[in-house]
């Protein structure tokens, strides 16, 4: 569980004209002094390696699908966005639909992890997590669900070790980095020396990554977020969802230096993934080796990973069953916005349901 309630109810009902107490409350919220519990779905640790942890969520409904789902998150921010609040949890939705849900959390790197590379994470930790998932009795086949950079990592894993992969779902996942929009300009090698940054800082602070993301739309992300808060607060609306999202946005983790340098140099600056010039543990990443059913999802308003970065994936894989879905949402709102439970979640589980084994009736128990 991330964050903790401070004993103060986030929503206070109609407050009328703003008094000093409301203003003070708003300022405390902006300062991060009012917190709400997040990532509360019960889960157990299955395996750990250094900072990486594989979790298995406890079921809340009879298991209807024998094919488990492994969620892979990015190295940026924390994965509890997938389980933000009980009433706004993609994980909770999967559990209610009867899936066996695992989560691979890369953790928070320390100074000792500044040399950690994508090779180690994708080439060692991810396969090991799959192996441990099997050992935990989850079956031989699995669905891999990658979000953002976690999707890119999932794609590399799927290309290098396709055995046992039943389905692949990638959400707002960058693939063709020549289409990165503003980030292409910012990461141009004339302006950004990723190796220098990694060498000097060791790990790149989460606040620096967050600043970069916010600066993509400075007015919307900085002024707009605060305006939304005041608007909600002054009209007496429940603040829980705003607080949870604000907490997550400001809860970034450092990016391991060596992995950051690789990510910027090999992906953004040299666009090696689509050219087949990435290797993981000495094995070339050839996306055409992916033959599992693929669902790629983009957000029309996503400015971090514009849809143009995702669409080329469908021409690179050899999956006969492949689908691209684009929904009118942004990078985070697509998964955890107010409309996600009606738009994204049911579509994902409908797609998965048609492609996952049913659990034998005698095995269905909570």
């Amino acid at each position: 569980m991330n964050g903790s309630a401070d004993g103060e109810a986030p929503g206070t009902g109609p407050v009328g004209p703003p008094g000093p107490a409301v203003i003070e409350r708003g300022l405390r919220m902006l300062a991060g002094a009012v917190r709400v519990p997040t990532g509360t779905s019960p889960k157990d640790v299955v395996w750990t390696r250094n900072k990486t942890t594989l979790y298995r969520y406890r079921p809340v409904a009879p298991r209807a699908h024998a094919t488990p789902v492994l969620l892979v998150y990015a190295l940026i921010n924390k994965p509890y966005i997938l389980d933000l609040r009980p009433e706004n949890s993609f994980v909770g939705h999967l559990l209610r639909e009867g899936y066996d849900v695992f989560l691979l959390d890369w953790g928070t790197p320390g100074w000792e992890d500044r040399h950690t590379t994508l090779d180690e994470l994708v080439g060692e930790h991810l396969p090991k997590a799959v192996q441990r998932m099997r050992r935990a009795g989850a079956g031989d086949e699995y669905t891999l669900f990658g979000y953002c950079m976690g999707g890119t990592m999932a794609l590399m894993h799927a290309a290098v070790r396709p055995e046992g992969l039943r389905n692949l779902v990638v959400l707002t996942t960058p693939v063709d980095f020549s289409q990165a929009g503003v980030l292409s300009v910012w990461t141009d090698p004339r302006h950004l020396d990723a190796e220098l940054v990694a060498r000097a800082l060791g790990n790149v602070p989460g606040s620096l990554i967050d600043l970069g993301n916010k600066m993509l739309r400075p007015v919307t992300n900085v002024v707009g977020a605060q305006a939304t808060m005041w608007e909600r607060l002054l009209s007496g609306r429940d603040m829980t969802s705003w607080l949870a999202m604000n907490q997550w946005v400001n809860d970034g983790v450092p990016f391991a230096g060596a992995a950051f340098a690789q990510w910027i140099r090999h992906f953004y600056q040299e666009n090696r993934l689509v050219r087949g010039e990435i290797s993981i543990g000495g094995v070339p990443v050839d996306l055409s080796r992916i033959s599992a059913p693929l669902l790629a999802i983009g957000g029309t308003r996503d400015h971090i990973v514009p849809p143009a970065m995702i669409r080329p994936l469908l021409d690179l894989v050899s999956s006969a069953d492949r689908q691209y879905l684009e929904l009118p949402a942004g990078h985070v709102g697509l998964l955890a916005g107010t409309g996600a439970r009606e738009s994204l979640w049911p579509r994902v589980t409908a797609w998965l349901g048609e492609r996952s084994d049913e659990t034998p009736p005698q095995s269905r128990k909570v």
Partner: protein, 145 residues
């Protein structure tokens, strides 16, 4: 009947209205600015200066710590790396143990199958192949003696 005093004026209403009026324009203008090469060059230079300053400070603090015989972050990180390597080895040993357990389980299953076959009542035992071949050469039946 008196309607009571009118509700007090919302002092933030004006700010909200002003914000809504200028928000779109400011937002678009700022997005154009940050998308430009000039902004990228300026922010890249700023970042470069920052990391160079950071590196200088770190080098100086390492020198100071070493002169005072204090452990540096690098020293502690080396210790942590040793722990991480031990953890990795334990993980590998766990994998090996699991593989050995799986092999043992397979052997146990095979042995159990063989034991069941041995316990099963059968007819007279056949002679070993060598004895049978010798009997065939002599034109007699080994089994018949």
């Amino acid at each position: 009947m008196s309607a009571g005093p009118p509700p007090p004026e919302d002092p933030l209403r004006g700010m909200r209205e002003a914000y809504e009026q200028v928000f779109q324009g400011w937002s678009k203008a700022m997005e154009r600015v940050v998308a430009g090469d000039e902004f990228a060059a300026a922010s890249g230079e700023l970042l470069k200066r920052y990391v160079e300053m950071h590196e200088s400070l770190r080098t100086a603090s390492i020198g100071a710590a070493e002169s005072l015989h204090l452990p540096t972050a690098d020293d502690l990180a080396r210790l942590a790396e040793l722990v991480i390597n031990v953890e990795r080895k334990i993980d590998e040993v766990s994998d090996e143990a699991h593989a050995i357990a799986a092999r043992l389980a397979a052997i146990e299953t095979t042995l159990a199958t063989l034991a069941r076959r041995l316990e099963r009542p059968t007819g007279p035992a056949k002679p070993p192949p060598a004895k049978r071949d010798a009997a065939r050469r002599r034109g007699t039946s080994a089994a018949g003696g």
